[in-house]
Amino acid sequence: MRRTSYLLTVLLLAATACGGHFPQTTLQPKADFGFAIQGLFGDIFWWAVVVFTVVETLLVVTLIRFRARPGGPTPKPLHGHTVLEIAWTLAPALILVFIAVPTVRTIFSTEAPAPAGALKVSVIGHQWWWEYRYPDLGITTANELHLPVGQPVDLTLTTADVIHSFWDPAMGGKRDLIPTHENHLVFRPESTGTFLGQCAEFCGASHANMRLRVMVQGDSAWKAWVADQQALPAPVKKGSLEEQGAQAFQRYGCTGCHTMGDMAHGIVGPNLTHVASRTTIVGGTIVNDSAGLARWIGDPPGTKPGSLMPNMHVPPADIAALVAFLRSMK
C-alpha cells in the first residue's frame, strides 16, 4: 500500500514540471489518519487508471478502425446486445464493490472516537484565525497547533461565527467547524516537523488568509513548550520601551479584545500572552518579527481584508513601543 502511494507521489511529481517541495501536500501524510486515506486513495486511483486506459483506448481504436472510407460497406444496423449490456453493467458494479468495501472500513476506522489518553485540544474557528485551547494544560494559543509526536489527539471543533473547516493535509482529512454542532478530528502524528494547513470552507472576505500550522514536537521540545506557555512572561522593565508599549496597549483599547497575561482578558481576538513565542501572526500569513508586527498594527484591514481589528491610526512611535512590548511576550 505504501509502495502504491510512493508510486503515486512520484507520478505526480514527474508531472509537475518543477517537482520539488510541497509543504501542504496531501500525498505525504505524517499521521495515521493521513496514511489511512492515502492507502484508500491509492487503491481507487489505480482502478481509475485502469478504467481510464480501457475506455479511452477502446474509443481511439474504434475511431481509427471504423473511420469512414469511400466505398466502405453500409454499417449493420445493430440495435443492441443483451449479453453485452449485462456485462458492462456488472463490470463497473464489481469494481465499485472493490472500492466500496475498503471505503466503508476506512470510514469507520477514521471516524472512531478518540482512544483513552488522547490529548484534548479545543479548536475554535474565528473570522479569520484559529484559536486552540488545551483544557487539561490550561494553555490558549492561536494559529500554530503544537502537538507531541506519537500521542493520539482529539480535536474538538467549534466556531465563534460562521462555518470553517480545519485542514492540515499532513495529518489527514478536513472537518467542518459548524455553529451548534461539535465535531471531532482524531489522529496520531507520527513524525516531528511543521506542517502547513488552512481553512477549507469559504468563510468570507479573508478566507484565503486563515492559515494554520501543525507543529509536531519530540518529547522534550513539547514539554518545554508546555512549560513556557503555562508560565507568565517576565514583567516589563520600568522605564523601558516595552513598558511604554504596555501602556499603549491599554491606551489604544487593545485590552478590550485580547487577553494579555494578567493585564487583559478580552476574548474577541487571539490571546497574546505568549505572542512572541509564535512564528507567525495574522492567521499565519505574516512572519512574526518587528516588521511584520509593525505592518499589521499600522493597517489591519489593509493587511487582512475584512479584519475585525480596525485601523487605529497609531503613530510610528507608539507602533515601535507596541512592537517592542509584544516581542517581549515570550
Binding site: 481510464f52 475506455v55 458492462w88 454542532h181 468570507g204
Partner: protein, 613 residues
C-alpha cells in the same frame, strides 16, 4: 440583441423588434435563448479569466479579496443558471417540437414568459456589478460574494451586510420561476404533442433526456426556492431559520441546497448526453446501440440523483453510517453512467464514422467526461473526499464534467443543428480549429488543477502563499494559459458564427443524413414547421436499411397550417418579477405594489386574450 435578427428572421413572415418581443414561436424563442445564454456564457468566461489572472502567480493582487469573492461567486452562478441551463433550453426550444413532429410547444406564451423571466433575472443579478453607488457602498461592484452555494450562516445579514447576497437570493428566485415554467411546458409538450405513431419508446433520446431533465427541474427548484425564501426572511424580516443563536441550524441550508444541487448537476448534464446520443448515430450511420438501456439509464440517473446530496457534505461530520450510505448511493450512479458510455462506444463500433466537427465534439464529450466521472468516484469515497473536497481537485472534477461534458455536448449540438436553425452550415475548418483549441485549452486549464488540489491548495481563495511550493505556482500559471487558450477557441467559434451568416454553405433540408423528423423539413423551418404532421412508424423514421426513407404524411389540412399570433403579455407579466424583487432590495414598498400590479395585469390580459394555438 440585434445579432438575433439575422438567422431566423429571414424565414419568418413578421420582422422588426416588435415581432421579437411578442413572439411565441418556439424557434425564435430558441434563438433568443441561444444568444442571450451565450452572452452570459461570455460574461462568466471573462469572470473566469480574471480569476485565472489573479491566481497566475502567488500573492496575486490584480483584484481585491472582496472583488475576487464576487468573481468566483458570479462565475459559478452565471455558468450554472445563466449559461448552461439556458443553452440547453435553446435546443429544447428549437429542436424538441421538430423532433416530435409538433407545430410548437404546448404553451407558446408560457414559453415566451420563461425566456423573458430568464433574461430579466439574469440582468437583475448582473446589475449588481454596477449597483454600488445606489447602495452607497463606496465602490462600483456589489455582486454576490457568498459562493454559488451561498452557505448560511455566512450569508446572513450579520456576516454579509451589503446588498450582495440580496441580489443573489432574489435573482435566483426570479430565475427559478423561468425554469419551472419551462419545465411544465416541456413535460406536456413531450408527453402530449408527439406526432401520430411516435410512441414513447420511439422518442429520440435527446427528447427523452429533456423530459427527464424537466422532471428534475420541477421537483428540484421548489426545494431551493424554499431555502432561498427562508434566507430572505432571515435577511429582511428578522427570522432565525439559519441563525444558531436562536436555535436555527445552518446545516438546514446545506441539506436543502444540495437536495436541489445534486439533481441540478443532472439537469446540466442529461441534455448534453441526449445531444450526443443524436450526433453519434448520425455520423456513424448506425442506430444508437442499446436505445432502451440508454433511455432507462438516463431515467435511473434522474431518480438516483435524489439520493446522493449528502456526498457534498462528507466534511460536515454526519457520522459513519450516513457517510457510508451516501457513499454507496453515489458510487451506484457510476453504473448507469458507465453503461451509457459503453453504449455510445458500441454505437461507433462497426460504423462508418464521418469526422465532422459535431462528431469531434461528441467524441470529446466521451473522452473528457470519463475523466470527470473517474475523479467523481474518487471523492465518492468519504475518506478520500476529506482530502479533496474544497480543494482544486474538485474544481478539476466539476470542470471535466460541466465543461468537458456539458459544454462540449452543447457545441456538438450547435454544429449539428445550426444548419437546421439558420439554413447554413458552419465552417468545418474553423470548427476543427475551435475543437482542438478548446480540447488543448481545457486540458491545460483543468488537468493541472487535479495536482494543485492534491498538493494542498484549497478552492475559493483569492490568493495563495509562495509557501505552498514553487510547483504550485507553475501549475497555476499553466492553468491560466489554458484558460486563455479556451478564450481563443471561443473567438474562433464566434468568428465561425459570424461568417456563416453570409458565407456559410446552404444546408438544404438534411445536410447530415439524420434519422429524425427535424431533417424532413426545410432549414430553417417555416413558422408552422410541418406542412403536414407526419406519421411515425419506427424509432428512426428517416432510415431504412438501404436508403433514406420518405415519411408518411398525415391527412392534409384544408388550408396552410395556422400560425399563432404573438403576444406582449408574457413580457409584461415577466417584467413584474424583477420589479417585485427590487422592492426588498431597495426597501421600497411602492415597488412591490407596482411589481404585483404588473404581474396581475399581465396575467389577466394573458388569460383573456384571444390566442389560437
Amino acid at each position: 440583441m440585434s445579432a438575433v435578427h439575422a438567422p431566423a428572421a429571414a424565414a419568418a413572415p413578421a420582422t422588426g423588434w416588435k415581432s421579437w418581443i411578442t413572439t411565441t414561436d418556439h424557434k425564435r424563442i430558441g434563438m433568443l435563448y441561444f444568444f442571450t445564454a451565450f452572452g452570459f456564457f461570455l460574461i462568466g468566461g471573462i469572470e473566469a479569466l480574471m480569476i485565472r489572472l489573479q491566481l497566475a502567480q502567488p500573492d496575486g493582487r490584480l483584484v481585491s479579496a472582496d472583488t475576487y469573492n464576487q468573481l468566483f461567486t458570479m462565475h459559478g452562478t452565471t455558468m450554472v443558471f445563466l449559461a448552461l441551463m439556458p443553452l440547453s433550453a435553446a435546443f429544447f426550444n428549437y429542436i424538441i417540437p421538430l423532433q416530435i413532429g409538433a407545430r410548437d410547444v404546448a404553451f407558446p406564451r408560457l414559453n415566451a414568459f420563461s425566456y423573458w423571466v430568464f433574461l430579466l433575472g439574469g440582468l437583475f443579478i448582473n446589475a449588481s456589478w454596477f449597483a454600488g453607488p445606489l447602495f452607497h457602498a463606496g465602490h462600483l461592484n456589489v455582486a454576490p460574494n457568498g459562493g454559488w452555494f451561498g452557505y448560511a450562516n455566512l450569508t446572513e445579514r450579520q456576516y454579509s451586510p451589503g446588498p450582495n447576497i440580496d441580489f443573489w437570493l432574489l435573482g435566483l428566485q426570479v430565475l427559478g420561476i423561468a425554469s419551472l415554467a419551462a419545465g411544465f411546458n416541456f413535460i406536456v409538450t413531450i408527453l402530449n404533442m408527439r406526432a401520430p405513431g411516435m410512441r414513447m419508446m420511439r422518442l429520440p433520446v435527446f427528447s427523452w433526456m429533456t423530459l427527464v431533465t424537466q422532471f428534475l427541474v420541477i421537483t428540484a427548484f421548489p426545494v431551493i426556492t424554499v431555502a432561498l425564501v427562508l434566507l430572505m426572511f432571515d435577511r429582511f424580516f428578522g427570522t432565525h431559520f439559519y441563525l444558531p443563536a436562536a436555535g436555527g441550524d445552518p446545516l438546514l441550508w446545506q441539506h436543502l441546497f444540495w437536495l436541489f444541487g445534486h439533481p441540478e448537476v443532472y439537469i446540466l448534464i442529461l441534455p448534453a448526453m441526449g445531444i450526443i446520443s443524436e450526433v453519434l448515430p448520425t455520423f456513424a450511420r448506425k442506430p444508437l446501440f442499446g436505445y432502451t438501456v440508454v433511455v432507462y439509464s438516463g431515467v435511473l440517473i434522474g431518480f438516483m440523483g435524489w439520493g446522493v446530496w449528502s456526498h457534498h457534505m462528507f466534511s460536515v461530520g454526519l457520522g459513519p453510517i450516513a457517510d457510508s450510505v451516501f457513499s454507496g448511493t453515489t458510487m451506484l450512479i457510476a453504473v448507469p453512467t458507465g453503461v451509457k458510455i459503453f453504449n455510445w462506444i458500441a454505437t461507433l463500433w462497426g460504423g462508418q464514422i464521418r469526422g465532422t466537427t459535431a462528431l469531434h465534439f461528441a467524441v470529446g464529450f466521451i473522452a473528457m467526461f470519463v475523466i470527470g466521472g473517474l475523479s467523481g468516484v474518487m471523492h465518492a469515497s468519504p475518506p478520500a473526499d476529506l482530502q479533496q473536497t474544497d480543494t482544486y481537485f474538485v474544481v478539476a472534477h466539476i470542470h471535466y464534467v460541466l465543461f468537458g461534458g456539458t459544454i462540449l455536448g452543447l457545441f456538438a449540438g450547435t454544429y449539428y443543428w445550426w444548419p437546421k436553425m439558420t439554413g447554413r452550415l458552419l465552417s468545418e475548418t474553423l470548427g476543427k480549429w475551435h475543437f482542438w483549441l478548446i480540447i488543448i485549452g481545457m486540458n491545460l486549464a483543468f488537468f493541472p488543477m487535479h495536482f494543485i488540489g492534491l498538493l494542498g491548495m484549497p478552492r475559493r481563495i483569492y490568493t495563495y502563499s509562495r509557501d505552498l511550493g514553487p510547483g504550485i505556482a507553475t501549475l497555476n500559471l499553466v492553468s491560466t494559459v489554458g484558460a486563455f487558450l479556451i478564450a481563443v477557441a471561443l473567438l474562433v467559434f464566434i468568428w465561425n458564427l459570424w461568417r456563416t451568416r453570409t458565407h456559410g454553405q446552404p444546408a438544404g433540408d438534411d445536410p447530415w443524413g439524420g434519422a429524425t423528423l427535424e431533417w424532413t423539413i426545410p432549414s430553417p423551418p417555416p413558422p408552422y414547421n410541418f406542412e403536414f404532421i407526419p406519421t411515425v412508424v419506427s424509432r428512426l423514421p428517416r432510415w431504412s436499411t438501404t436508403q433514406m426513407r420518405a415519411i408518411p404524411e398525415g391527412s392534409p389540412e384544408e388550408s396552410l397550417p395556422h400560425v399563432p399570433s404573438g403576444s406582449i403579455w408574457p413580457l409584461v407579466t415577466a417584467l413584474g418579477l424583477p420589479v417585485l424583487a427590487c422592492a426588498p432590495l431597495t426597501h421600497t414598498l411602492w415597488l412591490a405594489f407596482v411589481g404585483a400590479g404588473l404581474l396581475f395585469f399581465g396575467i389577466y390580459r394573458w388569460a383573456f386574450e384571444p390566442f389560437e394555438v
